[in-house]
């Protein structure tokens, strides 16, 4: 098949692209098992940096805090994002639909420094007016992360909802099911894979966020990226190599397992292969 072939030069460029994505991270992973203190001179295999890591209380408590924030923010994002996707795809035209569509997309491209600064100013303003939130910490970081997380969740669920025409939902409603029953018995099972993907994406985005969290965190609420950033600023160290390797490996493993389960979803976007061929 002639059309399937890609010119050789194009394949080379694509491979350069993959090299940029993978070579630095691969070297970092290899050298996290380096015995020496110098990060780029190999002096034997060792896991001592991982042992040192397990005794670093500051990093461990930051990790624990990040997991709590990410889980909370992802759950909040899931609820809000699902409501948003349903509003945009299922309840028909309403007067403020354009506003919701706009507000749902803008946070996706907003520069992080602007989002972070604006939310901090809001929290300070709210504290002056209502006395809440008093100071900044886990709750303010969660709210900030949920605000952009819900937009990503909504994009994923909207794609899934657009794929299924709502005749099933209408049939259920015609047979007398209330809106909530329709949601639980028809819509929810259909969008379940998108819900899982959305929650995981919101979790990762929250877990990895440095800039927004730096603005809206208070003293004593240093998340893992904030803690790692302060040591990365001072240079490359084997201990940071080790924690980076752990985080990247766990995330990659989770994505690989998930993509095996959802290969159809990845391959054909939001469409099933049957509908893909006739459009």
């Amino acid at each position: 098949m002639m059309r399937s072939s890609l010119p050789f030069a194009a394949k080379i460029i694509a491979i350069i692209g993959f090299a940029i994505l993978y070579v630095p991270v691969t070297l970092m992973i290899i050298y996290s098992f380096n015995a020496g203190k110098l990060t780029s001179v190999w002096s034997g295999f060792s896991t001592k940096w991982y042992v040192a890591l397990s005794q670093n209380d500051q990093l461990l408590s930051a990790l624990f805090l990040s997991i709590i924030i990410a889980a909370g923010a992802a759950t909040l994002s899931l609820v809000l994002g699902t409501l948003m996707a349903l509003s945009l795809e299922r309840i028909g035209r309403f007067r403020l639909r354009w506003l919701l569509a706009f507000l749902g997309l803008a946070p996706l491209v907003m520069p992080e420094v602007v989002t972070g600064l604006s939310l901090l100013l809001l929290f300070i303003g709210m504290e002056a007016l209502f006395g809440w939130p008093s100071g900044r910490g886990i709750d303010t970081i969660m709210i900030a992360h949920a605000t952009f997380g819900m937009c990503f969740v909504s994009v994923i669920i909207q794609a899934r909802l657009a794929d299924f025409d709502n005749s099933l939902e209408e049939a259920a409603a015609d047979l007398g099911a209330g809106p909530l029953t329709v949601f639980y018995t028809v819509t929810l099972p259909v969008i379940a894979p998108a819900l899982i993907a959305g929650w995981l994406l919101a979790f990762t985005l929250s877990f990895d966020d440095l800039v927004i969290a730096s603005f809206v965190s208070g003293p004593g609420s240093s998340t893992l990226p904030i803690t790692v950033f302060s040591s990365v600023r001072l240079g490359v160290t084997p201990e940071v190599n080790a924690i980076a390797t752990l985080i990247i490996s766990i995330a990659s493993l989770a994505v690989l397992v998930a993509s095996l389960f959802m290969s159809r979803l990845i391959l054909y976007g939001h469409r099933s292969p049957e509908t893909d061929t006739d459009t």
Partner: protein
């Protein structure tokens, strides 16, 4: 009969217990959330940028708000005047941001196009592997990927160790704090965001179009220029926006990989906020950044409308 009757009972029960909610209330919740935590904060930035700086907590007086005496409205343009007075200090970072974000956007486009085309034309396992290879970095921390680039480019990094080992260099090559290191950082962070929309449009191009073009004697490059490129346009536009806009305000990449020559807007804003603690000026910079960013968006919308009319 018995089973049917029971099902009907269950349905009746469900109907009776399902709360009667107006469908519009579903939309109210996310709308209220985004208004409160996205739209209002942007107004807040505008208010602080028109306010004045002071010593104290918080270190500013907003242009409008509620005080003990009641509502007040007293905007001033001090922060913007300061930006103008020291315009070279602020416009050079703006120029750097535009230059580096635009350059990395082009590099991402050049790298992403063959990747997306490859994935779109491959089948089954190859396509899945290519897509997973692109998606995988998107799910891992960008801070850690930038950190990995530091390890590669450092004076004591892998590239330099390799060059010294080969005897190609006597002294280490300084690859950090250069345009190229910032480009590297932005590409490693944003490349997946360019591939995804490109792949989404390329995968939908009907194969028979290529066959027809080839049958009519079109060469490969003609087919690319007359079919692939025009049909990929929405994907190119979306990918470029997804890379360019966030890259303009990037803080972490110029901070870790750039030097004084690569000072970008995000870093200046960060410094004004965290180091100088001049919040009104930081807010004015955010407003300036948003104004600059609205230019490409509005221009694209305008171009899109004109394309549709013709």
């Amino acid at each position: 009969m018995m089973r049917w009757g029971r099902q009907q009972l269950v349905r009746l029960y469900q109907q009776a217990t399902a709360p009667k909610i107006g469908l519009f209330w579903v939309a109210i919740i996310p709308l209220a959330w985004l208004t409160l935590f996205f739209a209002v904060p942007l107004l807040e930035i505008l208010g602080v940028s028109l306010g004045s700086s002071r010593r104290g907590v918080p270190p500013f007086i907003p242009a409008w708000g509620l005080s003990d005496e009641g509502l007040f409205f007293a905007p001033n343009s001090d922060s913007y005047a300061l930006l103008l007075r020291h315009s070279s200090d602020y416009f050079i970072p703006l120029y750097n941001s535009t230059r580096l974000a635009f350059g990395s956007m082009l590099i991402c486009l050049v790298l992403a196009f063959p990747i997306s085309l490859w994935a779109a034309r491959a089948s089954g396992a190859v396509r899945l592997s290519l897509l997973v290879l692109v998606l995988l970095p998107f799910w891992t921390s960008s801070l850690l990927r930038v950190y990995a680039v530091m390890g590669l480019l450092n004076p004591t990094g892998y590239i330099n160790q390799f060059l010294l080992f080969l005897g190609l260099r006597e002294t280490p090559l300084d690859l950090m704090r250069m345009d190229i290191s910032v480009y590297f950082g932005i590409v490693i962070c944003y490349l997946p965001l360019m591939v995804l929309p490109l792949y989404a449009v390329l995968v939908r191009i009907d194969e028979s179009l290529y066959e027809a073009a080839t049958d009519l004697g079109a060469t490969r490059s003609t087919t690319f220029l007359t079919i692939t490129l025009p049909m990929a346009r929405p994907g190119i536009v979306a990918g470029c926006l997804l890379v360019f806009i966030p890259a303009m305000g990037e803080f972490m990449i110029p901070e870790l990989l750039g030097g004084p020559e690569q000072l970008m807007m995000g870093k200046v804003l960060w410094a004004e906020f965290f180091r100088s603690r001049d919040w009104p000026v930081a807010s004015a910079l955010a407003v300036l950044l948003l104004l600059v960013l609205s230019i490409p968006i509005l221009w694209l919308r305008h171009a899109e409308r004109r394309m549709r009319e013709t």
